[in-house]
């Protein structure tokens, strides 16, 4: 610990703190813009300047380390003026159309203008008009709103190790873009959307599919059903001002019904189906000793990353479609038949925490019944916008339940939303198949938690399984490189494209840097996921009665002929540039 004095207040702080962290611990607010804890700590914007006794110029608090006896002043005329000038310079060439901006009222720049009391912009910036890149099915980039903070660059380069965006050109022409200014759809972008949730402003957003969904809903000849992923229910509340980690499952279902969907289904049920298929696939591969390790395939960001960067592992990927795609195929076959509806008249909408699922849904091979398995994917954020647009008072909604027969999911399906969840769900089922009888201890806690790479040797009846879990593509890369170098061997690997898994996916509510300084979103939202698991009566996928019925009445057996037609897929090697 070291002693520092901030605005006359004597405090003790850990010696690895920055001035920004020290001030926060004394409840002194230093404004920031480019800083994002653990991701972008580069001192670029100089909004956070403070006076350091003995230093000749103002210093950036977000990168200035504390030391014994350091004296800091955060609220002097020089500090206030410098912050204002820096902000006004940024604002001078900013496309200030807040009213129609996707980040209106959730924008760090807007908030800064308010907090720093900027009422007049004294500079006239040289403005360049850049074209908006909306070629990607998932991500839209509007450089005219970019403040060049580089938070997206750091996430893409350092956390995801994808590196498809960076600062290009210089001076007034500086722009964050891809090489040769190619659209994101023409570079090896994984569509993970981590850049969007890192961006402080409206320069990055999801490709909006809300209007398409409204259109489907207003077409009376169509039977429009919706499904929601597990991670959506533990984050949607944030869009309505609720604390991070609030579970709003019941209200979410009620809202979807009021929006006008004919049926509200739970993707968790399909997650149970995925486990039946993937668990069976794993047992098969273990028996034959072929294509091991088996690597999970639920995360389309990870899949695209693998197709671009690790084509040699494509045979290791599970051939299972991701849960919502499986669900789409089942809805347009089994459900259509049961309900007597022509599959061509059904529209399946998925509400996902993920932007890569938008890209996934337009993959041509994911169309088991002739039309796409899933017709539209909207993110948690887009759902919130629909709820607001429909004039629904979310907080006042009653709790309602998902529709049957697809409503009941097991806890195993729920935990898919957190890193380690798919692995744990699969182990619950595989263990019982191997044992041939029910097993009570079902919480495989070794694979939970937020470390980047988790390893566990799991003793299953008659067989040991070497398992690994990685989340975030940088960790996936590390893990795969270790395997390639012969340094590690596994039987079963779960990989999620986003750090923290789906709960912190690229389609989730965006929390500002200030909140993320104090709260680890991964932890807070994952806790809600595990609470939901605990609360459910059925916690193993193969015990889900609907799943049993589905196999009896329709599919036959896991990984059987019909499953292969409807529930499995294949992958394509993709080039880089």
């Amino acid at each position: 610990m070291v002693n520092v004095i901030i605005d006359g207040q004597k405090i003790q702080v850990p010696k690895n703190y920055t001035v920004l962290e020290a001030a926060r611990s004394a409840n002194i607010d230093i404004p920031t813009l480019c800083y994002l804890k653990g991701i972008n700590e580069i001192g670029a914007c100089r909004i956070c300047v403070v006076e350091v006794k003995g230093a000749r110029s103002l210093q950036a608090a977000c990168v200035y380390p504390v030391s014994e006896g350091l004296e800091i002043r955060t609220n002097t005329p020089a500090v206030r003026e410098a912050r204002k000038v820096n902000l006004e310079l940024i604002l001078s060439n900013h496309d200030r159309k807040c009213l129609t901006c996707v980040r209106n009222r959730n924008c760090e720049l807007q908030k800064l203008a308010e907090d720093l009391n900027v009422q007049n912009i004294r500079f006239e910036g040289e403005t360049y008009r850049f074209p908006v890149d909306d070629f990607s099915p998932s991500i839209v980039r509007d450089p005219n709103k970019c403040v060049l903070c580089r938070r997206c660059v750091s996430v893409c380069k350092n956390i995801q190790t994808v590196s498809v965006i960076d600062a290009q050109e210089r001076g007034f022409k500086t722009i964050v873009a891809s090489a040769f200014n190619k659209p994101l759809s023409e570079v090896p972008c994984t569509m993970c959307g981590q850049c969007i949730v890192a961006c402080p402003v409206g320069a990055l957003r999801e490709k909006d599919d809300v209007d398409r969904v409204w259109e489907m809903l207003s077409d009376e000849t169509k039977h429009v059903v919706v499904q929601t992923a597990p991670a959506v229910r533990v984050a949607l509340g944030e869009e309505f001002g609720m604390p991070i980690g609030t579970r709003v499952t019941g209200k979410m279902v009620a809202a979807l019904r009021r929006i006008g969907f004919a049926k509200v289904f739970d993707t968790d049920t399909a997650a149970d189906l995925t486990i039946m298929e993937e668990g069976t696939e794993l047992l098969g591969r273990l028996k034959e000793g072929k294509n091991l390790p088996l690597i999970t395939s639920c995360s389309p960001g990870w899949i695209k990353f693998c197709e671009h960067n690790y084509p040699e592992f494509l045979d290791n990927l599970s051939s299972c479609k991701s849960p919502h795609e499986m669900f789409g195929a089942i809805i347009k076959s089994y459900y259509a038949e049961k309900m007597g509806i022509n599959p061509a008249d059904i529209r399946v909408v998925s509400v996902m925490p993920c932007t890569a699922k938008k890209f996934e849904s337009v993959r041509p091979e994911l169309a088991a019944t002739g039309t796409p398995d899933v017709d539209a994917v909207i993110t948690t954020r887009e759902l919130a916008r629909m709820i607001k647009e429909a004039g629904i008072d979310f907080a006042a909604l009653p709790d309602e339940s998902f529709d049957n027969p697809f409503g009941d999911a097991s806890g195993a399906g729920v935990i898919f939303g957190a890193t380690g969840g798919v692995m744990e769900a699969a182990l619950r089922t595989v263990a019982e198949i191997l044992a041939g009888k029910p097993i009570d201890s079902i919480e495989y806690t070794a694979v939970r938690g937020v470390e980047g790479i988790k390893e566990a040797v799991v003793e299953l009846p008659g067989r040991t399984i070497r398992a690994a879990v990685a989340h975030g593509l940088g960790n996936a890369r590390k893990l795969l490189d270790r395997i390639k170098a012969g340094e590690a061997q596994y039987d079963f690997i779960e990989i999620m494209g986003c750090p923290g898994g789906c709960v912190t996916g690229g389609g989730q509510p965006i929390q500002p840097a200030k909140v993320r300084m104090d709260i680890d979103l991964k932890v807070a939202r994952a806790k809600a996921i595990y609470d939901e698991d605990k609360s459910l009566p059925i916690r193993k996928s193969h015990e889900n009665p609907f799943i049993k019925k589905l196999y009896e009445e329709f599919l036959g057996e896991p990984c059987g002929h019909k499953s292969h037609e409807l529930l499995h897929t294949h992958y394509t090697k993709r080039t880089n540039y």
Partner: protein, 162 residues
Amino acid sequence: MNGQKCCTFVGTEEQAQKLKEVIEKHKNQKGALIPVLHEAQEIYGYLPLEVQKMISEGLNVPLTEIYGIVTFYTQFSLNPKGKYKISVCLGTACYVKGAGAIIDKIKEKIGIDVGECTEDGKFSLEATRCIGACGLAPVVTINDDVYGRLTVDDVEGILNKY
């Protein structure tokens, strides 16, 4: 920038071999990228996508980063120089005497923008800072030929000489 006009890239086996050697030579050095880019530009005269890709793969540096560096430093060029390299001085003296209108006229005549090269590879166009011939302002050079005290009406005649 994307969609710029340019002649298509044609590299020879020999050039590719040379670049490979350069990459090999610097591969395990720290800060290898800048010297490799310099040598690559010497080999090819400019740094198009194809060349940057070879460097990206060879040095295992993301293409995005390489492109960022190439566009940041003015000494690197994304476009080939034409057989005839037109440079229009946009220094203060030339600018005041109407270099802006001259460059516009040249653009119109040969149909390319600053930093580009005509599709047949004949002309390339660039804007420069003061070249120290202010007495002749406005000044245009084409390879080693210097043209001074120009008016917009002179442009066509000069271009026709090439």
